[in-house]
Symmetry: C2
Subunit: 371 residues, 2 copies
């Protein structure tokens, strides 16, 4: 195992490296001082993450004589709001950061999306650094430049594409991550195998226990996930084409999140994606696109990792096919009234289906939820 690994996201003048390994957080200060001499930093984090990792980061900045200020918001999805954004923007402006200074996002997906968006729109774009501290953020949300907040009309409806200048994925920060959060992030890891890398899916089937116990294969799983995402983002930065493949499981997943009112007691994003991927495979099978063996293999692996694969596993009031269908019809990936889904011809054979008939989706949901 290498000490740490560097993956370059190739986006022309917006290219940047992702560093993956352990004990990286403590080296942040000297690294930033080298990249942006005399920079000052604003750290955006949440109470929980800052309690766990803030001191390591600020000590490291102090070592490199980098001035810093901290903007700490409450943990949880509710911070992806206009009100919290306004507070972060105001604090960033009060800190009198100038061009050449940096915003550091220290936290999970919520912090990365919020801080990245605040950086995107402060003084028409400040440079920022992602330090993802959850598995989900390390393998997904910190890579690719999607930033934003939620609107009353839906999730992530207000935002921007804004690439970081550096991502530091320190796998040591996952030690403090609750098991449920780890499993949810792992759903996105699995996704990369299911999209276009059957060999990686086999690797995960073989090594998931080692990965869940933060063993030596964890770094490889994170690195391969980041490499997969980086390749897709490099080919289609603004999601005009193949980047939509990353939404495998997400159309059903978002509908499940919507129908459970984003109640994290019932469902968190990665769990929705796990069920969503299982449903995408089932729906593909129903359309005679993929074998039932592949459906079963996907569900077996997710279940072995403690992830749900069926809407009925969600605690609370059962979800109805109609409710899910309404959320799907409202989804922002709907284009000109036709439904777009990521369907699959088998493990590692996902593709973008642009003209899925809404009636077939509803019929499928009626079957799937009756099982």
């Amino acid at each position: 195992m290498k000490l740490f690994e560097t993956i370059q996201v190739e986006l022309g003048e917006r290219s940047y490296p992702i560093l993956i390994g352990n004990n990286l957080l403590a080296g942040t200060g000297p690294r930033l001082a080298q990249m942006r001499p005399k920079c000052r930093c604003a750290i955006v984090s949440d109470d929980n993450v800052f309690d766990a990792h803030g001191k390591t980061l600020t000590d490291s900045l102090d070592t490199a004589s980098i001035q810093h200020t901290e903007i700490i918001v409450p943990p949880g999805e509710k911070s992806k709001s206009m009100a919290t954004l306004e507070r972060v923007l105001s604090d960033l402006l009060d800190a009198h950061l100038e061009r050449g200074d940096l915003v550091i996002a220290l936290g999970g997906g919520v912090i990365g999306d919020l801080a990245g968006f605040a950086a995107a729109i402060t003084r028409r774009g400040m440079e920022f650094v992602q330090i993802p501290t959850s598995l989900l953020a390390q393998v997904d949300s910190s890579v690719g430049g999607k930033t934003g907040i939620n609107a009353p009309q839906g999730k992530n409806l207000i935002g921007a594409f804004h690439q970081p200048i550096l991502v530091i994925a320190d796998t040591d920060t996952l030690k403090t991550l609750p098991e449920r959060e780890f499993a949810a992030g792992y759903a996105e890891v699995t996704k990369y195998g299911l999209i276009n890398d059957p060999e990686f899916f086999s690797f995960l089937e073989k090594n998931h226990q080692d990965i869940f116990s933060l063993g030596p294969t964890l770094q490889e799983a994170v690195a391969r996930s980041c490499r997969a995402k980086a390749a897709i983002v490099a080919a289609d930065e603004h999601e005009k084409g193949m980047r939509a493949l990353l939404n495998l499981g997400h159309t059903f997943g978002h509908a499940l999140e919507g129908a459970t009112e984003y109640d994290s007691g019932r469902l968190i994003h990665g769990e929705g994606v796990a069920i969503g991927m299982a449903l995408a495979f089932q729906f593909s099978n129903r359309q005679n696109l993929c074998s039932i063996d592949d459906v079963e293999r996907v569900k077996r692996h997710l279940a072995a990792c403690g992830l749900p694969t069926n809407p009925e596993q969600i605690p609370g009031k059962p979800l109805t096919p109609d409710a899910l269908f309404n959320f799907i019809a409202q989804d922002k990936k709907v284009s000109k009234g036709k439904l777009t889904f990521i369907l699959t011809k088998g493990i590692g054979k996902a593709y973008i289906a642009n003209e899925v008939p809404p009636a077939e989706v509803l019929a499928f949901l009626n079957e799937a939820l009756k099982e």
Copy 2:
């Protein structure tokens, strides 16, 4: 005179045309239907502009069978606020615009900045069309992709670079523009001559009366201004270098606006720029960079066009050198504690001076305001 003129802003995949001429507004619908078949539109405008020009635009959209919705905000700089932005975002989301649909900014600089920014951050970037209806917007703010709102900490501190896909500058819309607004916009026209085109400045000296009476040279003045701005923007989209030349007169101008608390009864932006350009020439002369003849020629032309050239012409309580200096020191164009100014070696010979000693600026202001 050509019927209308097209200037292409060359920005790779973000390139777009600016159409300049009369009677263009009524042709908007068919033009958009050709560019984006089956698009729907949200028009963002203010009460005054929509009263004057809304029907021409909506009739034209109806003719082309383009569905549209209207989002009307109060006129004036106060609409460049977080509160108004939130309302526009909410209305855009409620309109269920999809990818391929358009936001149309119909109005002056405030509307262009607000609507452009709302488009930039709705669904991580919607396409938008600028239809500038003030001279200032036609020659300056609608070209180049700067969008944003004001923060309590200062103007335009929250925003994004977001290029329109089309700019329609219909000179007929200037017929309803108050004379004071026209003159203020003309200050920016003059600026392009002063930056790097002495021949254009001579053209303006010769034709300003015709331009102010909306005569045949108006279209040429607007077109040459847009061409000048487009060339600079194409060379430096994100203001990392020479785009700063467009700030000629703006460092002093912003300080004057700040010191008069953005009270439009006392000073509007273009007037601040006029005085600011006069001060930039005087300061350059004091630094032995440009001749007193050039200073006098600039002031004479601005005065002939009814523009102020001296802070003492601003009505209300006299401004102090210290107050202006404080605003300059806070300006966002300050970099690492050194002052950046656009200075000049004469008419058409502006350049970026990165290390202007603050003490010399203060000494100059003390002299200039004692005159």
